[in-house]
Symmetry: C2
Subunit: 417 residues, 2 copies
Amino acid sequence: MQLAKGVCDIEPSEKILKNKVVDRLRKTFELYGFSPLETPLIERYETLASKFAAGEDSDALRETFTLQDQGKRRLGLRFDLTVPLARFMAMNPTIKMPFKRFEMGPVFRDGPIRAGRVRQFWQCDADIIGNSSMLADAECLAVVAEGFIKLDIPVTIKVNNRKLLSGILTQCNVNKKQDAIIAIDKLDKIGKTGVQKELRERKFTKKQIDAIFTFVSSRATISSLKKKLTDEEALEGIKELEEVFSYLKQMNVKVDFDVALARGLAYYTGTVFEAFANKSKVTSSLSAGGRWDDMIGKFIGDKIVPAVGLSFGIVPIMEVLKEKTKLLEKTKTQVYVLPIKTENECLGIVQQLRKAGINSDISDKSISKGLDYADALGIPYVLIVGKRELAKKKVTLKNMKTGKEELLTVNQVIKKL
Amino acid sequence: MQLAKGVCDIEPSEKILKNKVVDRLRKTFELYGFSPLETPLIERYETLASKFAAGEDSDALRETFTLQDQGKRRLGLRFDLTVPLARFMAMNPTIKMPFKRFEMGPVFRDGPIRAGRVRQFWQCDADIIGNSSMLADAECLAVVAEGFIKLDIPVTIKVNNRKLLSGILTQCNVNKKQDAIIAIDKLDKIGKTGVQKELRERKFTKKQIDAIFTFVSSRATISSLKKKLTDEEALEGIKELEEVFSYLKQMNVKVDFDVALARGLAYYTGTVFEAFANKSKVTSSLSAGGRWDDMIGKFIGDKIVPAVGLSFGIVPIMEVLKEKTKLLEKTKTQVYVLPIKTENECLGIVQQLRKAGINSDISDKSISKGLDYADALGIPYVLIVGKRELAKKKVTLKNMKTGKEELLTVNQVIKKL
C-alpha cells in the first residue's frame, strides 16, 4: 500500500497546526473586507494553457496533470489559484468591483520532487480586482502585516516597484531587463560581488554593471534614488512607492523599501513585496505579492482590469511555527474520561463536559491502558470515575503533566478547565 | 471561457455559508474527541481499484477520473474519503487505537450530471477505528445529533442494525437478501403496498413477503420484534440496538428505531442510521453512517479492525439552511468606510475598527457609488467621513437597512457595533 508519488498525508498533529494557520489567515482576510471563493480543482485544459495563463510552452503547463472526462474533454488540475480567478472574472462580467476575494486550497504540479517540493500543496491567495488606487496596494501590505501579527510571527516586509526597477535599467542602457532582474534579486543572498559576477556572466558590460550599482544598494532609499533618476517610468515607480508608504504610515504598518527586490514572476507590473521571518532558519519568503494589472484584462479580452494581491506560504509558515513549539498538539481533546465500571454514569459526565464546551472523549479501556492512551495523545487531563467516587458525587481529575490528582465535583472540573 | 463540465465555482455568498457549516461541524467533531486528517486528492489507481475498496467492476471505479504522472504511474482522483482512510490505516500500523479522525474535502465522480449531482463535491466524514464497543456507535450518533444542534437544524435520526435486518430475512427464508433490503429501504417513500409490489417484481413469494411484513412495519419496536425473533443473528442485532439505545439515553440523545432503514451501501455490518430534516423540502438524508467492521481489516490484510462512522452531507445541509435564511450574506464586512477627501484620516479609522475586531473595508469611490457598492454587497453599516465631521472629531454612521444616520466618535462606533 503506497501513496501516489509526491503527495502526502497530513496527519492530525500537522493538520491541527494547519487549521490554526488557515483559520487565522481567514480571520485576517475577513477583517480587511475580503470574501471567500472556492473554484474547482479541475479546469478545462485550454483555460490553463491560455497564453494569458500559463501559455503552451511554460513550465507550469509542462507540470500540469492532464486528464479526460467520459466525454473525452481535455482537462487539467489547476497549478495555481490565479488562473481560476481570472477565468471566474471572465465568466462573471457583472460582478461588483472592486472584487476582493481570497481562496485557500490545493494546487498541483507534476514536477520533480525534492525537499519541500511536493506535487499537491495548498496555496493561499487574496486579491483586489478592479482597483487601480495605491490604497489597494497598501491594503494588501497591511493584510500581510496583520496576518503575521495574528500568527505571532515577527517578519520583515520588503517592498519595491517594478516600474522603478525597469526604469533604472532603462537609465543604465540595459535591454535584457528580465536577465538583469534575476541577478539583482539575489543581492541579499550573494552580495554585491556575487551579483556583479553573475551580471558579467550574463554578458552585461562593466559600464552597465557600474551604472546599475549607482542605484542598486541595500542602503538606497526612495528619496536618495529620486534625486538621481531621470527615467519617466522609474519616477512613476517612485511616485507609487511614496504613495503606498504614506498610506502605510497612516495605517501604522511598517515595511522596508528594498530596491533590489524583484520577485521572479514576470506578470507583476507595479508594487512588489515579500515577507521574511525574523530570526528563523526558514529563509524562503513566507508571503509575497504585488500588482498585476495586465493578466485578467487580457484574459477577458482587451479590457483594463487592475489587480493587486498577495499569497501566504502555508508550508513555510508551518515550518516557522514548528521552530517555536517543539511539541505539536496531537489532539484537541482536553479531557479523557476513564470509567471504572461506570460507563453509564460517565456518558452523562462526558456530555456535561461537552455541553460546557470542553473537548472530551470517553475510554473503552482499562485504567492503565486508558492512561497510556491519554499520555500518547498528549491529552492534558484524565477524569477517573469509579463507583466509590460517584458515591461521594465526585470524580478524580488527573493532570497528566504534573501527575497531580484532585477529587472534585463535575462542576468544579468544568470551572477549573 | 468555460468551466469543466460538472464542476462549479462556489462564489462568496455560498462559500460564506459553506464555511459556517464546515466550522460548526469541525467544532462538533473536536468536542467529541475526533482529530483532523487530510489525505491527498490523488491516489494510486491500484489503491482505488482494490477489491476491498471500489473493486475493478464497481460503479465508483467506472466513475473514477484517471491520470498519469510524468513517471507514467497510473493514478486516480479519490471518489470518497473512506478508501484513503483505509490506505492511511494500512500505512500506519502503529497508530494509537481507537483512531478517531474526521476529514472534510473534495471527492470526484466522473458520472452523468443531473440536478444536485456534480463531478466534484465535498464529503465530510468522521470515523472511530479500532473500537468494537457499542459506546463508539453511540458516540457517532451523538455527534450527528450535536452537529445538527450546532447547525440549528431540527432533525429526526433513524437507527437500525444490519444484523437484525439480515436475521429477519433468514427467518423469512429469503436468500437474495440484498435485493429484499433495497426494496424494504423504500418503505418510507412508497409505503407498504409499494414495497410489496416491488418485492413481487423481484420474484419473492407471497409467503416470503407476508413473513417479511410480520416484522417490517413503521410501528415495529425493538421489544415487539424481540418477542417474535428466533434467528441468532437477528437477536444479536437486537442486543446491539438495546445497548446503543441505553447509552444514548444516558447521553440524552434522542433517536428513533426504524426496522425498515437499510442504507444502500453493502459494506455496513451492524448499526446503520440516517438523519432527516424536520419540516423541510429537502427529503434526502442530511447525515448517515453506521458500523463497517470488515473493510479496513481486509485492506490491511486479514486483521480485524472494527470501524464505525458517519458522514454529513454538506450540500443538502446548505440547502436546508438556505430555506431558513432567504438572503445569503454576500460579505462578512460589517463597515464600509467612505472618505470624502479624507483618505489619510480614514486609513487610521479603518485600522482602528479592525483593531477592535470589526471587519471593515475602505472605499476608493465617490459617496454615491460607495453607497451603491455597500448596498449591493449588503454591508450593514457605512461610515461617512468628511472634513467637517473630522473637525468635530466625529464621523457619520449610516445604518444601511434603516437609513438612519448618527454623528458619533470612532470609539462610539466601535461600542455600537
